[in-house]
């Protein structure tokens, strides 16, 4: 996983969940961030789609269990390129 993608996603999460960016790590998840509820999860998905220009399926939405997994998924989709 490239650090730049992880850092960008940490920034997205920080803005969205209103948490200082230095407190957002790859392990940050709905269990550790109080404001990360199901609605904010959707906001998170939409923000990732907009920032990285990709589309996430319902199954991929489910896979975003923490910031690190989001970074892995975004990276793999960017490497796969547009379909």
């Amino acid at each position: 996983m490239t650090s730049s993608i992880l850092d960008q996603i940490r920034g997205v999460a920080s803005d969205l969940f209103n948490v200082p960016v230095n407190r957002v790590t790859a392990a940050s998840s709905p269990e550790t961030i109080e404001t990360w509820d199901s609605t904010q999860h959707l906001n998170f998905v939409l923000a990732l789609e907009e920032k990285f220009g990709l589309q996430l399926s319902p199954e991929e939405m489910e896979q975003l269990r923490n910031v690190g997994e989001a970074a892995k998924l975004v990276e793999s989709k960017l490497q796969a390129g547009p379909r």
Binding site: T39, H41, N43, Q55, S57, E59, M61
Partner: protein, 373 residues
Amino acid sequence: MPIVIQPYREEHEPAVRDFNQRLQSGGAEPDLVFFTRAEPRWLPRSDVASLYQEYFVVLDNGVVRGGYALKRQDFSFPDGVTRNVAYYHHPLSEGIVNKSYATIGAMLLKDAMSRSPLLYCLGMGGYDRPLPKMLISLGWANCAIPFYFHVAHPNRFFREIQALRTSPFRTLMLNLAAWTGTGWAGVKTIQGLRKLRSSKPASFTAEPVEQFSEWVDPLWEQAKIHYAMTAVRDCQTLRTLYPASDKHFTRLRVSRGGQDIGWAVVGERRKDEKYGSMRVGSILDCWAAPENALPVIQAASATLTQQGADLIVSNQSHRLWARALEHAGFLGSQSNFIFAAGKGLSALLRPFTEKQSSLHFTRADGDGLPRNF
């Protein structure tokens, strides 16, 4: 959990029945059930029509965990472009009764947004409900569509209105208002004063018609430019929404001096415990240039009164239709009929705070037809 969202097909019907059963046994409200038939009875999909419904289900290894419906319909905008817009309704998730599926609700909405960039929601039961809360959190433009009512028979209103009998004191006051006649006098006075605000009485002729025909098309073409967003209301659309075979509606042709000026569709709502045994009439749809709203509302209201309605209700988004209701003696009340536009649609309605009072939305634009209006 490999989850997919697919168009609802006949082969999914048994799984939907199981889903409904799990919701009910889990304690969901009785009306929270998904459509048991894959083919919509109202507005089924057609290859030629742009007005149809489609249903989608969430499948988790063949088990249905949720579903939603889209009503697709053409809308007109002031730039002269007609766009197909989807109305998102009946979202249901197993998350209601099982927290393991709490994210399904968000997935449903995400899927609908992917399938239709121009998306709206309507109704929803008020701002305190989960769906409007989610939409607001997502930054959807939103407003309450004003609600108006007219009491045709005050004594029955005060005896029957269950929605206001929320405490023993209120119940006592409502009974007193009914039994002493003070309620009758108060309502007649307030509604009469409203009518006096009308600068001049509207003159019109109203005629019930069996079905809509080509005379509505010029009205549609002439008036659509006045609205920031309105569902297409031409002859073909009206015949689909209000087919001649449906005798539950009264279709009114309103004219002045031999010239057609508008139309309305009225009907009696199905029984609702909050209204007791009152007969509740609804002005569920109407059309005219805004300056002709008053005679159309007066025609609709008079027709429902003649048909025996005790109470007449209407939701109208456009400020001049709302004003027409006031000038026809209607009173405003808190509305739980919420309009929310997704980001793609919101972009066409900027600035929303200015445009929201120029939208043309009525009860007919939700999921209320053919009966729940």
